[in-house]
């Protein structure tokens, strides 16, 4: 056989010249320019885009990009103690198997009659999260914890008709920036004082700030600095006594062992599902959740999709669909609640698979493992001369503040030396929280072994001893 000289781009079948000519003829156009007749010549870009030469051959494309990616060092190739909102947890093979399925990966916005599985999987995600969080309702995922927290506060604002949210001051500055941008100018944020020694919220300050304008009190548990807040119920009582809602951010990964915030009075719980079966992806693996009780007034304030289960014409058959769709901006544009659109649904499906695999036993084992590992790390770091770990006097789960101020070394210097040993030291907080001195946030997951910690401690001992 002879191979035709003319060929189409693999992604563009109708670029084959014969087909293209026939289709132009079919629509009665002499040239492509005829199809763009509505675009004034002054707006036509007649140059050639300054882009690299095309790489239509897949093998060559793969090699080109793999060579670029080869410049990255993954957490598989190092020991990582980085956390601060993103964690190197294990992702079971079945999570990857399911999220790479073409059916889920390339579906989008179909109705239950063609996307039944997508609706069921996300409904099961909502349901599994509700059990983990011990709440009635969880939404289809939003972008990330940032968005989930911001929307939770806006929901509280509409629910109470009040414009102010009080936010624990120990929050991550990045998360605060995102919440601020999302809430202002419609809502105002005020920061609550916290104890620099214990990381705990300052209840006296909270009491003083609780006015008739306050829609919500927001804190995180575990907090950004790793501390567990031990005054949850007291904060809830103060907020409720003021007619405000309590909004708590949490890491669902911890809830096999930690009490879910609903059990100490949270009205809205939010956080990130990245830690449930999703890869880090350089920070792209995030997905936010919002959970509440089943109270109509509160449910009607969700901007997100809420999938529900129902019946069909055939007895015994399940059906799924959108609950209270009329809330959304899809239904009513600017009159809807905030806005809804594409967010992180696939990460929700991964989380559903993860929670189904783990079950209550897996979540408990995981939580306990991580807790013990973090305690071991804290002990080992704290035994190093001049190192205070944990630097805050509070219980912690998988992350802790470590103060290197008394070592005479900066966190930057220490991390630089660790990097030479293929160890990613904890996040340097000396810029974000200058009041904490030369402190860093160190995190562990179940993927950090005792040997990894022992080797790291030995390296640190050498680094600090060389002072």
């Amino acid at each position: 056989m002879t191979v035709q000289a003319r060929r189409a781009h693999p992604y563009i079948p109708n670029s084959e010249p014969g087909v293209k000519a026939a289709m132009l003829a079919a629509v009665g156009a002499g040239s492509m320019d005829d199809l763009y007749g509505d675009i004034p010549e002054a707006l036509r870009f007649r140059g050639k885009l300054n882009l690299p030469e095309a790489i239509p051959a897949e093998a060559q494309l793969k090699r080109t990009i793999e060579r670029m990616l080869a410049k990255n060092t993954s957490c598989e190739e190092a020991v990582s103690f980085l956390g601060a909102g993103c964690y190197n947890h294990y992702v079971p093979a079945i999570c990857d198997e399911i999220t790479r399925r073409s059916e889920f990966l390339t579906a989008y916005a179909g109705e239950p009659y063609e996307d039944f599985g997508r609706f069921q999987a996300l409904w099961e995600y909502e349901s599994l999260m509700a059990e983990l969080l011990d709440m009635d309702i969880c939404n289809v995922p939003t972008f990330d914890w940032f968005q989930a927290a911001a929307t939770s506060l806006r929901m509280a604002g509409r629910y109470t008709g009040r414009p102010v949210a009080l936010v624990a001051g120990s929050i991550s500055p990045d998360r605060l920036a995102a919440i601020r941008n999302y809430c202002e100018p419609v809502m105002q944020l005020e920061l609550l004082a916290w104890d620099l020694k214990t990381g705990q919220l300052d209840l006296a300050h909270l009491k003083a700030q609780l006015t008739g304008q306050v829609a919500a009190v927001y804190f995180e548990n575990p907090g950004y600095l790793g501390c567990l807040e031990t005054q949850g119920q007291a904060i809830a009582d103060l907020a409720h006594g003021n007619g405000s809602l309590l909004v708590v951010g949490t890491d669902p990964n911890a809830l096999g062992i930690l009490a879910p915030p609903s059990q100490y009075g949270a009205d809205i719980v939010c956080g990130d599902i990245h830690t449930l079966g999703n890869h880090m992806h350089f920070g792209g693996g995030m997905g936010g959740f919002i959970a509440t009780r089943d109270e109509e007034k509160l449910v009607m304030e969700y901007p997100s999709r809420l999938f529900g289960i129902s019946r069909t014409d055939v007895p015994g058959e399940y059906g799924f669909g959108d609950v209270a769709y009329d809330r959304t901006s899809f239904a009513h544009r600017e009159q809807g609640k905030e806005f809804v659109g594409t967010a992180s649904a696939l990460h929700g499906i991964a989380a559903a698979v993860y929670l189904s695999l783990m079950g209550p036993v897996g979540m408990r084992d995981l939580g306990l493992h991580i807790l013990q590992k973090a305690q071991y790390l804290a002990q080992a770091l704290g035994a190093l001369p001049g190192v205070k770990a944990p630097a805050l006097d509070a219980p912690f789960y998988k992350e802790l503040l470590v103060d290197f101020s008394s070592t005479g070394r900066t966190v930057a210097e220490i991390n630089e030396a660790l990097l030479k040993e293929h160890i990613f030291g904890g996040k340097d907080l000396s810029t974000e929280f200058p009041g904490l001195g030369q402190s860093a946030l160190w995190a562990v997951t179940e993927l950090v072994s005792q040997e990894d910690i022992d080797r790291t401690i030995a390296a640190l001992r050498a680094i600090l001893g060389g002072n």
Binding site: Y11, I12, A22, A26, V27, M32, D38, P52, A54, L61, K62, I65, L69, S80, N88, I94, R100, R101, E103, T106, A107, Y108, E111, P112, Y113, G117, Q120, S127, A130, P141, F143, D174, R175, R180, N181, G232, A259, G283, G284, M286, V299, R311, T312, Y318, G321, A324, Y325, D326, R333, E334, T342, A343, S344, S356, M358, G359, P360, V361, Q372, K427
Partner: protein, 529 residues
Amino acid sequence: MASQHSLERPLKVRTAFHQAKWDEELIFELHKPGEVGVAVAPAEQGVAAAVPGLAALPAPLLRAQAPALPEVGQMRVLKHFLRLSQQTLGADFTVDIGQGTCTMKYSPKINDVLASSPKMARLHPLQDERTVQGILRIMHELDLYLREISGLDAFSMQPASGSAAILGMVSIIQAYHASRGEAHRDEIITTIFSHPSDAAAAAVKGYKVITLMQGEDGLPTVEDLKKAVGPRTAGLLITNPEDTGIFNPQIQAFTRLVHEAGGLCGYDQANLNGIMGITRAKEAGFDLCFFNLHKTFSTPHGCGGPAGGALGVVQKLRPFLPKPVVVKAEGEEGEGCRYRLDFDLPHSIGKLRAFWGTAQVQLRAYAWIRALGAEGIKEAAEIAVLNNNYLLKKITRIKGASAPYAAGRRRIEQVRYSWEQLHRDTGVTTEDIAVRMADYGMHLWSSHHPFIVPQPFTIEPTESYSREELDEYVGVLEQISREAYGDPGTVKTAPHRSVCHHIHHDDFDDPKRWAITWRLYQRKHLPEA
């Protein structure tokens, strides 16, 4: 050969199609006490023995009762979700052109392979920059490519979707005016055929929203804009081509009028696919724009994300971008140069998303651009437009279907059609037809609300489908039109070959009956449980 190129050849319709129907349980119904899907290793003995564990935590912080998650063995969990996946009509399986405005083009598999590399998937965002030079380079070069495609001067990849990018545009518009002492500008103008989020995200930022309705040709009019614009105008958010697929030739007049009033112009380029390399935001006079990486730049839609909304601005607005952007180290060129995160954006709106956006999505978009190059990108746009006009010709011949507005004019990448005539003749609605499409393995979406076009449906073929596949889709529409006229009951009682039958929607809007989770379902519908 000639007959193959004719509009009249017989069309294939998959009348024997039936969706997978596993009659699968809910995951909770698979619960078997004692089973587990994955085993988690306990901490090493040397660790467990050395630490207090749970005893270190105050009792109120401990979970008293285990969560009622189902206990299911590994293979059964796998099977469950595989079955659910088979009951989902991914774009890879169908001719997914019925979700107009969403640019359901082919997502190349090689890009998924690259994105799942540990060199991508297992990167922590706070790693030392020297250990992530590969991904930083990709993010930076993607920025450069998008500058070229838009003509604008800087991009942030941080927004995680089109709506997030719209919020970013509105946030920058607000911060810009505030920085100039013009915070009194409290109105955003948009158009009815622009995405609902253009209006909704503006309202999130406290703006009064003014929506321009369509004129006779389906486009907003300069006269209406003149009435709307004024000293309170903060900005314009507009799609072009609008969701009708009609390009607004007056777009420069729109941006000029808004600029004369002191406002900024944000281009919603969700509908970019037909005009890549053909016309740019810069020449149209825009100050901001965004591209959907998951639409125009091919990254998979993932059941609704993760996605990417690349947000572009002109130079004077660069200081307002969310932090950080990726830059190349000063003075360095070529293979050995260094990339870093630049947080020096003095008027930054702060953060729109955690860390640096969806890097795995950015990588895929980058790979897609590299695969096509300048000529391929222009060709993708042109073929998308050719496919669309080919469909326009064929769909408007279907009994009961029409393409309102701008009769006789070309459309860009999509068309908002109407079943108004068919509905009038047969009583069959666009929603009925959408359901019936599922019986043929196809998807049809009505359109965004409100339904300005009566009984609407929006078709966007993209460049990904062959002529035969486009014909097949048209064949299904024709088949259903015939059914509507001959046997409307079949259409109105659809689906017939779906996973499930007609779903009862009354539960979804009744607070006493809605069951958003398993526990609510048990409480409200299984009282014996």
